[in-house]
Each structure stands twice: as C-alpha cells, then as structure tokens.
C-alpha cells in the first residue's frame, strides 16, 4: 500500500513569497514561517502568474540568478495539480470578482485560485485585498492578512 497524507490547501499572494526573502520587511519572518508550513500542514495552490510576479520582481530587484533559483524552487513547492494556468477560461472566471469585491485584476487571479480550490488565502495587502474580502459573507473561504494568520 502506498503512503499517503491528507492536507489542507493554501494560496499565497506573491507578496508573501517575496517578503519571506527580503529580511527587512515588516512581516518577513512571519511570511517565512507560513511558507514553512508547506507541506506538513498545507499544500500550495497558485495561479501561474505567481511565477511572473515572484521571478520578475526578484529579477528586477535582486538579480537574475535569484530569480532563476526562485523559479526552480517554486517548481518543487507547487505541485502541477494545484497550479492554475492563467489562460482565457481562467481569466474569464476570475474577472467578475473585481466587480463583486472591488478588487484589482491581478488580485482576482489569486482570489479565484483560492475560491476554485477552496483554499485558505493569505496576502500582505490589507488595504486593497484582504480587508475587502475577508468579512464578505458571500465568500466561503478563509482569508487572512499575514499578521492575522494563525501559525
């Protein structure tokens, strides 16, 4: 019989991944602690745009070697079964969230990933994202700002 384990699912905004690597960020340590919960407590479900945001930002601010290394580790951390390709169908399913929750377009890609996989969603953006959706009774998933996430 093969070994198997049952896990809950977590969708992290790209800002959580990047903040975990920039040690002078206000919530850097907490972001790293949340990532460290993978895979023992959670598995990651992410939209493919996370590669663009994490690697692109690192390439611009920290250099291409850091970006390339991050890409390789994202490949390992996010199982392909839980990586949502941001194609036409995915975008068409995501964009109505912009109107429903008054959030921005890219934010909606992450939120839709969390909704469609019924995962817990965590972001650093309180003002424009978590605050707008966390108390909405229409949303059936858990949403946290990094500082509120229970470790």
């Amino acid at each position: 019989m093969s070994e198997q384990q049952v896990k809950r699912i977590l969708t992290l905004d790209s800002n959580v991944f990047i903040s975990a690597l920039k040690s002078d960020e206000p919530y850097s340590r907490k972001c790293a602690q949340i990532i460290e919960l993978v895979p023992n407590r959670f598995l990651l479900a992410e939209p493919s745009v996370v590669y663009q945001e994490v690697c692109g930002t690192l390439a611009r601010r920290a250099g291409s070697s850091a970006a390339q290394a991050a890409r390789e580790q994202l490949d390992r951390m996010i199982d392909s079964k839980l990586l949502s390709t941001c194609d036409k169908d995915f975008c068409l399913a995501s964009y109505p969230l912009c109107s429903q929750f008054k959030i921005y377009a890219i934010d909606a890609l992450y939120l839709w990933t969390a909704i469609s996989t019924r995962s817990t969603f965590v972001s650093l953006d309180r003002e424009d994202l978590t605050e707008k959706v966390e108390s909405n009774p229409q949303l059936e998933i858990e949403v946290y700002h990094v500082s509120d996430f229970p470790l």
């Binding site: 690597l21 040690s23 002078d24 460290e36 895979p39 945001e53 390992r76 951390m77 921005y104 424009d128």
Partner: protein, 91 residues
C-alpha cells in the same frame, strides 16, 4: 445499502476514477465514493505521495535559502508590498 447505476460516464472520467481508486487504496467503488464525499466535506483535502511531499519540502528549504542573497541585493525601499502594488496597478 443503496445501489446506483451510472450511465453515460465519459471514458476519461472512468479512467480518472480507476486511478483514484488505486491511489486511495479503495477495495470497492462504494468505498471510493465515500472517501470522495468525505473529502469534499473537509474543505477538499488532496492526497499526495510521500515523494511529492519530500520534493515540496526541498523546495521550501531551497526557496527560503535565497533569503540571504535577496536581502543583500535588495535592502530598504521600496517595500515588497509597494513594489507589487506598483507592478499590478502602475501606481
């Protein structure tokens, strides 16, 4: 115990169900449906093999090991939040 007859099941779905039946170590179809129903009720947990989880663990370790390099090359402003907001909204 109820009995159900499923008509019109696509080949692809049947193939996927057979694979799940093996992966979840179910002896009968009833056992598989019971496990799937239970999973759905528990916020959809997924089942992965030990090797998949070890690979993820290596990924987490490798990713966080980049902390030194990134922090050395990117100190002070802008914050990550400001940088991401800028890239998403062209502020």
């Amino acid at each position: 115990m109820a009995t159900i007859l499923v008509k019109g099941l696509p080949d692809g779905t049947l193939k996927q169900l057979k694979k799940l039946k093996v992966e979840l170590d179910c002896k009968t179809w009833a056992e598989l449906f019971e496990k799937l129903a239970e999973s759905e009720g528990q916020r959809k947990p997924l089942v992965f093999q030990k090797e998949d989880l070890q690979e993820m663990k290596r990924g987490v370790k490798g990713f966080l090991a980049l902390r030194g390099e990134v922090s050395k090359n990117w100190t002070g402003p802008p914050t990550v939040l400001a940088e991401i907001r800028k890239s998403r909204r062209h502020e």
